[in-house]
Amino acid sequence: MFKNRGHFYETMTGSGQVTTGPLPIGQFAQLVKRTVAHDPLFRNQALKGEVTQWKQYASGHTYFSLRDEDGQMSAVIWKGKCSIDPSIKEGSEVVVIATLDLYVKRGNIQLVVQRIEPVNVLGELEKAKRLLLEKLNQEGELERTRQRIPAVPKHIAIVTGAGSAALSDMHRLIDNRWPGLRRTVIGVLVQGPRAPQEIVRGLAVTRALANAEVAKHRNQPPVDLVILGRGGGSPEDLWAFNLEPVARAILASPVPVVSAVGHESDVLVSDLVADLRASTPSDAIERVVPSRNEIEFLLDEMDERLKVASQRQLIDCRQKITVLHSRLRVAPLAGLNRAKGEMMRIASRIERATRQSLNIQSNILARCEASLAAVHPQRVLERGYSMTQTAEGSVLSSVDGLQTGQDIILHFADGSADAQIIKTQKNEGTT
């Protein structure tokens, strides 16, 4: 095993020097230092991170650490080696050009900084915000159905900077609109590196207070509305409200959250995910805290309308009963009268109908009589014709069947004569 280490050592030094026994640590440290110094990866590297433990010593050297979420390293700026932007301070995001070095005496690995520049913080943040919004949009969170703001909130939780002007504004407005409205203020940092975490924790507290059991235990109604707010500030100051953990905490709220961050133009991520966006903390109060006087007035008015409408309805019912009663009293008489009238109407209809029918009948008879009169045989006889009958009485209309010597009777208009056939003769062309 040690032999292997020895081999490693040989390889690393490349000197072919062979040692026996353990290597003194100082030599090893020197070795590391040289190795590091030779690796181009560790030289003049551009690195990005947040400044912490920023200390400028009287000696003129500046020591600090460069960190991000995943790790950190010590760094040093030797006196006069590079100009330092005066805006750089604890928490600044910077880009450095640095070379890795091992401080042999203490075995510390550190970055020796040749250049340091504050990053265009806003540019970076804007990009992160845009990406976050895209992600939330893809998840459908920006289009989600918002929770309804209660008409009368029974317990408002306000997550904001303790002792801030925004908070006193909110208190003043609440007390104007609804004196003594129940509220719990959770004081958190609303700017600086710890703000996002504190806001997230503050919202976690509101979730707990919204829980029915916790509320019961605390002997107060559950929180039913959360106002997350702070006064205006520079975009950097407000940046906590653009971060994913804060957005997620808002989305996780079981009760509606109002985003009330004082700013004019720029829309923050918290505004876009909250159930209601208010332009300032004061605006939030105006929009979610009703005026108690107004509400009471409306309820009184409703009370009045309910009473008046019900009373009128009852009067209507009584009037209907009165009308029904009087109608009931006259109903039998009215029935009889109606029946009598009906009977008389029917009788006159029958009479009229009979009369009409008789008229029609007599007209028909008269017409028949006239027609009959027109075709009576007497009329024909009167015009000079005569009618021939056999002795047996049948009317003769043909010579066929007549026998010579047969008796016949001739009828005239004014009498008859007995006759005998002497001879028959049939007209030509008749059958």
Binding site: R148, P150, A151, V152, P153, K154, H155, A162, H171, W178, G180, L181, R182, R183, T184, V185, I186, G187, V188, E198, R201, G202, V205, A208, L209, V214, H217, R218, Q220, P221, R292, I295, E296, L299, M302, D303, R305, L306, A309, S310, R312, Q313, L314, D316, C317
Partner: protein, 74 residues
């Protein structure tokens, strides 16, 4: 209406509906009385909701309220 206690908003909406039904008129005695009773009940509920919104003002730092909640849990 469900058996569950209505929220203030639900109560007010129902109350509005009842009042306008009564104002429109044309219903019988039974229904009138029933609606009136329901309306009066809802009004009482709304007014009690208003009283319930009143309470004390708690103002705590994050750490304080977190430890309060923590100790309540135990």
């Amino acid at each position: 209406m469900s058996d569950e206690k209505p929220t203030y908003t639900e109560a007010v909406l129902r109350l509005e509906a009842i009042v306008s039904t009564l104002e429109r008129g044309g219903m019988g005695l039974d229904e009138t009385l029933k609606l009136y009773e329901e309306g009066a009940e809802l009004l009482k509920l709304c007014k009690s909701e208003l009283a319930e919104a009143e309470g004390k003002l708690n103002e705590l730092q994050l750490d304080e309220i977190e430890s309060e909640l923590q100790s309540e849990k135990q």
